[in-house]
Amino acid sequence: MEAALSSPPEWLERMVLLAIPPAARESVAGDLWETYQNPAQYAAEALRTVPFVVVSQMRRNLNPPTLMLQGALIFICLGGPATLLLMPALMLRDAYRAQGRPCPRRAIREAILLSSAAMVLLFFFMSIHPPFPVRGGVDPFTWLSLFLAALFLSPFLCLFRAGLIMQGDRRNPMAASALSREALARAYESFLRGSFCRNVLEGVALAFAAVSGFFFAWNLLLVGLFVLAAVYLLLDTVSGAGMAQDFVSLRAQYQRELARQEQLRRFLRWLWFAPVLVALHARLAGAPSGDSLVVLLNCVAVAILCFLVAALNREHGGRVQEQIGHLDRLRESF
């Protein structure tokens, strides 16, 4: 292909880059640049191309079990209209999933934002019951305790995020820019072994949780989900297909398996937290009318739980995306 004679205007390119999902940004933006003729042609080509790329990334990153579980949780907690509104938003968010772990500054900012929102909620409730509510039996001491709890929430969430970031930094399994086919096969085999052990252990734990849940009168749908997930994990033969013979095919196989295992883990992380979310919702539904404090505390608890699961998913998912990206650039050494 001929080299491009000129380059697109910076502002236009920045807009196009923002619209392209991160997973396809490098190659699609490069292709658009390579065929650049003038700003109008560039913009028109981007407008024609980007929707296909977004839909394709939505399909690729779609995790039907996780989405169904999230949908069910939203439906139970917020109702049908909210589910209809939030499901496409969740799918779109998946299409624009970052190709790496979130930067520490952003991760900490999210934690501070969440705890600040909890504090604002508290202030809001305090302001609608001036000076301190006596109705509902809430005394000034309780409000002060709540305020202090919200104040300590920020460092706790920041520490949790920092812990995840540090754990991610410690694990850097593949740093070489070139590997032989044999070395890649060894790395893949070790990954398969690790996945197999983890799946068996988690399958047993899920089965145990399902049995306990049955005796503790959990929601039957939830018990069923735990049983299904346990059976799937225990039956899942990770190394079903043989190992590819050449470097390129083996790398593609490794990338597909990494993505598959990560999709599975994303679902399982939500599944483990689902009973707590359902229990919190049951408490919310059963709270006496006018007891705004219980409602407030439960809402804050749900928000924190969702933050914890999302943080775990972003950190672990980001690490897997980094690994897939690293494999993309890996050269074969002889």
């Binding site: 292909m1 080299a3 491009a4 380059s7 390119e13 396809a24 490098e26 190659s27 699609v28 933006a29 490069g30 292709d31 640049w33 390579e34 065929t35 080509e45 024609r48 191309t49 980007v50 929707p51 296909f52 790329v53 839909v55 394709s56 990334q57 399909r59 690729r60 390129v248 095919s249 790398r251 593609a252 196989q253 597909r256 993309d328 650039r329 890996l330």
Partner: protein, 113 residues
């Protein structure tokens, strides 16, 4: 094994024909050439490439960044064994179609244009 759609056959054939130079721009150009007179959207080519990669029919990797692409890499594609098998199967079906049409439409004189 899933059978290939028509557009998938065209994209796979384009990758096969381009050998070591198969990436977004060249694949799109080849697809347009193969599917003449119809135009093919570049986005549709990307979507098909993604789908076939997920099925394990092709594999991809990133090249070194180049200046003519604003310092960005090319995503190169290569056909896999399963892709070759699927394409051969499609070619056999197409061959049978051509023969049947030739027998019924214009005898031995008929040739696909």
């Amino acid at each position: 094994m899933d059978s290939l759609g028509q557009f998938e056959q065209i994209v796979l054939t384009a990758i096969l024909a381009l050998e070591h130079n198969a990436y977004g721009v060249t694949i799109h150009a080849k697809v347009e050439e193969l599917s003449r007179p119809r135009k093919a959207a570049r986005g549709a080519v990307y979507a098909t490439l993604d789908r076939m990669e997920d099925k394990g029919l092709i594999s991809s990797w990133l090249s070194e960044p180049t200046k003519e692409r604003g310092g960005r890499s090319r995503r190169h594609y290569r056909i896999e064994k399963s892709g070759e098998k699927a394409l051969r199967e499609s070619a056999r079906t197409a061959q049978r179609l051509v023969e049947t049409i030739a027998q019924n439409l214009g005898g031995l004189a008929w040739k696909p244009r």
